[in-house]
Amino acid sequence: MRVWYFSEMAYHPAWEEGLKRGSLRVVLPNRNYDPKIGHQLLNRYLDEFALCDEVGLDIMVNEHHSTSTCLTVSVPMALAIIARETKRSRLLSLGTPIANRPDPVRVAEEMAWLDVLSGGRLEMGLVKGAPYEIAPANSNPANLMRRYWEAHDLILKAMSTRDGPFNWEGEFFHYRNVNIWPRPYQQPTPPVWMTGLSTETGRMAAEHGHVVGTLLSLSAAGPMFAAYRKRAQELGWTAGPDRFAYAAVVGVGATREDGLRRANLAADYVRTSPVVAEAFTNPPGYNSLAANVAMLKAGGKRGGFVRDRHGNPVEQTTASIEQLIESGTCFAGTPDDVYDQIKALSDSVGGFGHLLMFGQGGFLDHQDTVTNITLFAKEVLPRLRELNLEPHKAVAAE
């Protein structure tokens, strides 16, 4: 198993105000952001990413927009800095919300540039993005996935074409001379990742052989990974654990109490993340027809996607650390506790080869974050490295 450290570079000083107004995203005015505090925080977070390289962790960066929960506005911008400050870590962009980007060729250029800069350490997530990302991007939610797949195909063709320029006149994107410089370091492209919560995403990722990632809920991971394996089998290959990624909050300590305390602070990410003005949580077409019909039948109530082992929804905004461990949202305690929890969850969903580690969140301060990273790398990582190593393989070759 590989472990990718990750922080949303939150601006938690605004959370109290956001909670009071019922939205940390989209409609919370940026007067609640103090750029001087923000300057210190962004630099601190980048130091924490750099530390991962020294201790042997890989690194993941994501992006969100118009929100106090995540101040990474551009994955390539953050990864460009991190690429220069690191030597060994692989760098996962998870990712670029390509259906919200007007210019997929620009995405291909930036990813190729990052791959060259980092000497082939880039892994490239092409993601759908969360529903509340629709408003800041003002992208049409009703044809989001059609646009996603056209952008996906164009980006991969732009990155893998060596004898361009080529022509592209699609439903959404039009170019007459696609010929990106630089071309990527890894051939034909850096590894591609997708993310989601549904079995449909699992199935579609299998069609392309991409890595698929999900987050915070073992009840989503199991069916999604199973759908991927089944589709891969139908297509004649066996998906190994290296095709599956799982994201969770991690808090480790020399004592169980200390690990739980760290996880509990970092878990404010989970508690604040869904607090968004209701109108932006379900733009038309973002969720499936069946999901929307079910929602109307339930009187407009939206259940969160975090569920406990019995499939019952967990109220994310108020969940205790114990509940979040139970739902597979957090791994917390001593190094032994954390290893055991990760292994148990991985086993229960058929084995994943990538752990995306929310190792910092909100009010977990720099010293705690440093300890969390170093203790994890020293005591948990070496054991996880031995787990779930079987690569995927073509059935036909056996």
């Binding site: 408003a135 038309p284 109307l296």
Partner: protein, 258 residues
């Protein structure tokens, strides 16, 4: 009677009801709701033809596309297919936008145009919002802007059969597909409204805060000879909230101007 027809390589569902002068009714963004009283009231005076827009009801999207241009051409084809002559064209909300797009292309088969709280044009400056952002509102906030009496617009979705809910969800998707960006208008449409050479009536709900009567005044100025009439105790859907007053104003206008 409801039927489904093949037209221009796509499938269109439409309701036909009544006798007399043909009246093509283009429904609002909310959908057709044929069980509601206005179609029945209209059909006592006219031969009402009311399609579900592509993506709504059982009408297919045209090639999966969300182009209002396509819908305008489809309905001009429908008017030709049904051999309409001297027909009345009525469009409400999103249907009003479609009606205007049809009429800047050809008014040949129509005698009168009635636009009911239409969306579709841009009047104010780039930092002014002519059309309320319906997608930045909760259902309760939306009802407050769209209805003089919000309780009349409230629907208990939990009580509807699943097939109706499916149609509602598809309609919401289609509405977003057509009108997300630019928001619920065509920036070029106003430029060509002078091509409408029919007697035109703009009916407006006095309490409409999705598009206000001031926006209606902008429409009136852009169409030569158009009349703007305000219907009291009505919001964005006067045909729904005040169906009798709506039909009375409409028929008074059509009958008076031949």
């Amino acid at each position: 009677m409801t039927r489904t027809m093949s037209l221009a390589g796509t499938t269109l569902e439409l309701v036909e009801r009544g006798q007399g002068r043909p009246l093509l009714f283009l429904h609002p963004g909310e959908g057709l709701a044929p069980e509601k009283p206005w179609l029945e009231l209209l059909s006592r005076r006219y031969r009402v033809i009311a399609p579900s827009h592509p993506g709504y009801g059982n009408s297919a999207l045209i090639d999966g596309s969300g182009s209002v241009d396509d819908v305008a051409y489809l309905y001009l084809d429908l008017a030709a297919e049904l051999r309409l002559q001297n027909a009345v064209l009525v469009g409400a909300c999103f249907g009003g936008w479609i009606a205007a797009e049809m009429m800047v292309r050809s008014t040949a088969r129509f005698s009168h145009l009635v636009l009911v709280d239409p969306l579709g044009i841009k009047i104010g400056g780039r930092e002014e919002r002519d059309i309320a952002d319906m997608h930045a509102l909760t259902r309760a906030e939306y009802l407050k802007l769209a209805w003089a009496d919000p309780a009349k617009g409230d629907v208990d979705f939990a009580k509807l059969p699943e097939s109706d809910l499916g149609a509602i969800v598809r309609g919401r998707e289609a509405f977003a597909l057509y009108g997300w960006k630019p928001y619920m208008h065509n920036p070029r449409l106003k430029r060509w409204l002078h091509r409408i050479d029919l007697p035109t009536l703009l009916l407006w709900g006095a309490q409409d805060r999705i598009v206000t009567p001031a926006y209606g005044e902008g429409w009136r100025q852009a169409i030569a000879g158009a009349r703007l009439e305000i219907i009291p105790q009505a919001g964005h859907f006067p045909h729904w909230e005040q169906p009798e007053a709506f039909v009375e104003r409409l028929s008074g206008f059509v009958d008076k101007s031949g």
